[in-house]
């Protein structure tokens, strides 16, 4: 097993629309791969295929060397996912939500450990015991991150994680990603935010109409160049 995440000629067709065309992608540990692209470019489809929520029309996806379509439950052990809108059970507290989800993932943590994860994700200690229904979007997302951290997954899938967050929260989020990277987690992040992609990503992929049209390492690339390149792709 060379790659922690791999897509081989991965395609998805909805009725008459080809949403993803032969995607080939490999991620190694400690890599942060950012997918850029317009709405409908195939970013979310890619993530859903990797999660096994969708069945590929052709090709295959592998997580930790296991084919996703063949092992729908097994691969989820290695994956953590944070949706664009982190929706939790509003009647339960942040702590309880975390306890539930990590329990479902097969972990049984003590209260202290759960608190530690929430703290690591940046949730203020006094908020952990309050109902999620009273949380802001940023706070909910922090619980989502805590769920992901507590799962000790090798791969983290993120769908537009910073959309709707204020700049301070976005910054904190980037810091957290770098911490996870340091621990060896591979991250695949779909985003519109070119600047943050450049800042945290090790590689950036540009998607258009279901195709991965370019992959660039972020080293030696500055944000303005990337933006120019991106817009260039979009106009053709």
């Amino acid at each position: 097993m060379k790659y922690i995440l791999e897509a081989k000629d991965l395609s998805k067709r909805y009725q008459d629309k080809l949403a993803l065309k032969g995607l080939n992608l490999q991620l190694e540990t400690s890599e942060i791969f950012c997918l850029l692209g317009q709405n409908g470019a195939g970013k979310s489809t890619t993530i859903n295929l990797l999660l096994g929520f969708l069945q590929p029309t052709s090709g295959a996806a592998f997580i930790h060397g296991l084919e996703v379509a063949q092992n729908p439950l097994a691969i989820l052990k290695h994956l953590a996912y944070i949706p664009e809108q982190v929706m939790l059970y509003p009647n339960l507290t942040g702590l309880e939500n975390l306890s539930l989800f990590s329990g479902l993932a097969g972990f049984s943590y003590s209260q202290e450990e759960l608190m530690a994860y929430l703290q690591q994700a940046g949730l203020p200690a006094n908020a952990a015991g309050k109902r999620v229904g009273t949380y802001s979007k940023g706070m909910r997302q922090k619980v989502g991150i805590a769920i992901a951290i507590a799962k000790h997954a090798k791969v983290l899938l993120l769908d537009e994680p910073t959309s709707g967050l204020d700049p301070k929260a976005s910054n904190e989020f980037s810091e957290l990603l770098l911490q996870l990277q340091a621990k060896g987690t591979a991250v695949l992040m779909a985003t519109h935010d070119i600047f943050r992609a450049k800042e945290v990503g090790t590689r950036v992929g540009i998607m258009r109409e279901g195709e991965l049209v370019d992959v660039l390492p972020t080293q030696n690339l500055n944000a303005n160049e990337l933006e120019k390149l991106y817009l260039n792709y979009m106009h053709n």
Binding site: L76, L79, Y89, L104, A105, G144
Partner: protein, 456 residues
């Protein structure tokens, strides 16, 4: 398994935090407790009323003894002394009152023509019986399905609608496990409440433990599981919450109201019963024509039936008690066929109802509970049957006095036969009902499971 327990635990946590559901649960419990109170009160009142009848009897005996200090004429005693046939409720009746409010639970009886007395009714408030009884059977048969529907209709759709589904599905767990665990918690909650209320009901009604307790709990459990199965089936369609609520309430409405009322129409149209009115009109005519006939004619007919009382002594004078009661007896004999037709009509109706009950589980469950409590039409027909027997034993008691002109002494009042009827539970009907319940429950549950897997 560990994950199922975890999901159940968190479902319980969510439930505890949901004020609306807590309120609903409290209301259900309150309704259940009220129903037990109401049902047992109602039966206690019937018992009191029945006990008062005995006082009425004693009172009449005292009056008669005062009026006839020495020996009395048995004919006069039989005429002025009504006795009461009693349908003693079982303690179970307090949990399922059934038809005990519509049908009289006692009957005032004299030695006269039986058919003129058998159909007399009790003082009932028709608006009240129209509204029906708020007994435990009502709570379990009508309200529990609504409770189950309210708990379960959005188990899956809610996760989708509030956006928690993707995060949940990104955990290594099957969707069916999630849905079944959530329903599992509700099954525990609902069955726990149903059992708790039933047990409180058993205690409140003063039921002595026997096999019927197991039957009752089995009916209740299967019935609740049927509704969970129906809910699961609708959930498996993967529609939104509003759609589920509408469809489930629709199913409830069709099964508890529309189908039973259509079935009722079918039963009454296909099995009309004009014989009741006919027979009361005809028995009067037959009985009273005795007054206009020579007494010997009546007596000859009577002796043909009762040769043991045959006596050639001609009746002197205008009136004689033994002729009078013979005439009444011949009034009954004249409408024998109509009575038989009426009875078999009622039985056919009941049989038809029983055959149709498979179409509607609530009818089935209600019928099973009523049969268990001895409060259905069958039990009433048995009571009527026992009244006929009682009337026979009254005749057997009085006839020697009347036809052998024996004096009726004060000691004879004590020898009058009494009547205490208690229905036996119709266990075969209950078991039949349980079979139907089991079949329907397994059907909806497998249907739901297959649907769910297919849609996966």
């Amino acid at each position: 398994m560990k994950k199922i327990l975890l999901l159940i635990k968190f479902e319980a946590l969510s439930f505890r935090a949901d004020k609306g559901l807590l309120l609903l649960t409290a209301l259900m419990l309150a309704a259940g407790l009220y129903s037990i109170y109401y049902g047992t009160q109602e039966i206690a009142r019937q018992r009191e009323n029945l006990a008062e009848l005995e006082q009425l009897e004693t009172h009449t005996i005292e009056e008669l003894k005062k009026k006839y200090p020495g020996e009395a004429d048995a004919g006069t005693v039989a005429y002025y002394f009504p006795v009461f046939a009693q349908n003693q409720p079982q303690p179970w009746a307090g949990l399922a009152l059934g038809q005990r409010d519509v049908n009289p639970y006692y009957l005032k009886l004299r030695l006269l023509n039986l058919q003129a007395q058998l159909y007399d009714t009790e003082n009932i408030n028709p608006l009240k019986v129209l509204s029906g009884n708020f007994d435990l059977a009502f709570v379990l048969v009508y309200l529990f399905p609504l409770f189950i529907i309210t708990l379960g209709y959005n188990v899956l759709s809610q996760e989708k609608e509030r956006g928690t589904l993707p995060l949940l599905l990104s955990q290594p767990i099957r969707l069916s496990t999630v849905v079944i665990s959530k329903l599992g918690f509700q099954v525990i909650l609902v069955l726990g409440m149903a059992w708790l209320l039933s047990i409180l009901g058993f205690i409140g009604a003063g039921i002595s433990p026997d096999g019927r307790i197991a039957l009752w709990l089995l009916v209740v459990t299967l019935y609740c599981l049927f509704w969970f199965g129906a809910t699961f089936l609708v959930i498996a369609l993967r529609k939104n919450s509003s759609f589920n609520a509408v469809i489930l309430l629709g199913i409830w409405l069709v099964l508890t109201m529309v189908l039973p009322s259509l079935m009722n129409i079918y039963v009454t149209v296909s099995q009309p019963l004009p014989q009741g009115i006919d027979l009361t009109v005809q028995q009067r005519e037959a009985m009273h024509s005795g007054w206009d006939k020579p007494k010997e004619e009546t007596m000859q007919q009577f002796y043909a039936l009762y040769p043991q009382w045959a006596d050639d002594t001609p009746i002197k004078g205008r009136f004689s008690w033994h002729w009078y009661y013979a005439m009444h007896e011949m009034g009954d004999q004249a409408v024998k066929d109509l009575v038989q037709a009426y009875k078999s009509g009622l039985q056919k109706r009941q049989a038809l109802t029983y055959d149709l009950s498979g179409f509607s589980l609530p009818v089935n469950a209600q019928a099973a509970l009523n049969a268990l409590a001895g409060t259905d039409l069958d039990s009433h027909l048995q009571f009527m049957e026992s009244i006929e027997q009682y009337h026979v034993s009254l005749k057997e008691f009085y006839y020697p006095f009347l036809f052998r002109q024996l004096p009726f002494t004060h000691a004879d009042y004590e020898k009058l036969p009494t009547h205490r009827f208690t229905t036996k539970p119709a266990t075969d009907l209950v078991l039949g009902g349980i079979t139907k319940l089991l079949f329907s429950t397994v059907l909806v549950m497998t249907g739901g499971y297959l649907f769910f897997q297919r849609k996966n």
